[in-house]
Symmetry: C2
């Protein structure tokens, strides 16, 4: 790839829960099913129902490990189905976002906030950040080499030694650009 | 607007039918409910169910007037729900596209082809085409002045004296750029 390109990934709707919430929903903590691209992160075997005022999604992916606060990441298309108006935010920035009801096989609970549409972002290693001349917190424009090419503006760069370099799109963005697994992007100068 | 900007519109999923199909589905031809931005086009009072192998959408908008061939325009997000793989095409280019079942209050029918994801496009008057220095069939890059700004590449320009100048996005594209009613775009040089 000549190190010029950044692999793209599409994140479907998913949920993060605390250990306590995992026990309430599933009767135990999360069980890893398969690893995700970001080191240490995994898709859990457990699935959950997410309910909003207008509708619900069933069998929604839960990602581990558990976090300090619950979070539900959906696309803006999804938000119409649920009847919620999530802000577009980076993961973890949930203050003032709407809540939802989570239903698991062993129980249900209501989170008072945590429903967001994930702001598009690039996870990046410090080595790649140096190579691309970008820094943590910077926003960049990312051209997608996809069947319906777009330039995504305001893509937030997040740099950590704990990351692998991947650009994360939600499904609205992935479908808008015709993303297929393996497609690449490039930061525009 | 100084004539530099192009108003954006988001097209939700919708169906076009022939007169014969309208009679089969509704017992009569289409009844106009309200006009659309393109002169002579209207949202019909009639609604239809669209069924695919995996799922269905209910209460789907039907646009008039009737056409010579049925067409179902959905987003790629929608296509997952239906279990179909529509090509990304301009309206009317349905050869080889998948079919679907349409269900109305008076009957149902199967269209053998016609399900597409609409290729993003700009309807333009000849006067505006001259002003923007573009011609019918040309593709352009369109920057959206929206909450999640993007540059949409490969946007097809369609010029006709029967058009009003509007850029049409599907809901994946509209949500990917955070479109709100009234937002504008601009053709990049």
């Amino acid at each position: 790839m000549g190190r010029l390109f950044i692999p793209l990934e599409a994140s479907g709707r998913h949920v993060h829960v605390t250990k306590e919430q995992a026990r309430a929903l599933f009767g135990h903590e999360l069980t890893p099913d398969r690893p995700l691209s970001q080191p240490g992160q995994y898709l859990a075997k457990e699935r959950v129902t997410v309910k909003g005022p207008k509708g619900a999604f069933y069998n929604v992916a839960v990602l581990g490990p558990e976090r300090k606060e619950a979070q539900v990441e959906i696309s803006l298309t999804d938000s119409r189905t649920l009847g919620l108006e999530p802000p577009v935010r980076l993961s973890g920035k949930v203050a003032g976002s709407p809540g939802a009801e989570l239903v698991g096989p062993k129980g249900s609970l209501r989170i008072p906030q945590g429903v967001i549409a994930a702001q598009r972002h690039i996870h990046m290693t410090p080595e790649d950040a140096a190579r691309f001349h970008v820094t943590d917190g910077q926003t960049v424009s990312l051209k997608t080499f996809t069947s319906r090419p777009v330039v995504l503006e305001d893509v937030q760069v997040r740099v950590s030694k704990d990351f692998a370099t991947f650009a994360h799109l939600d499904y609205d963005e992935a479908n808008a650009c015709g993303f297929q697994k393996g497609d690449l992007g490039r930061i525009l100068p």
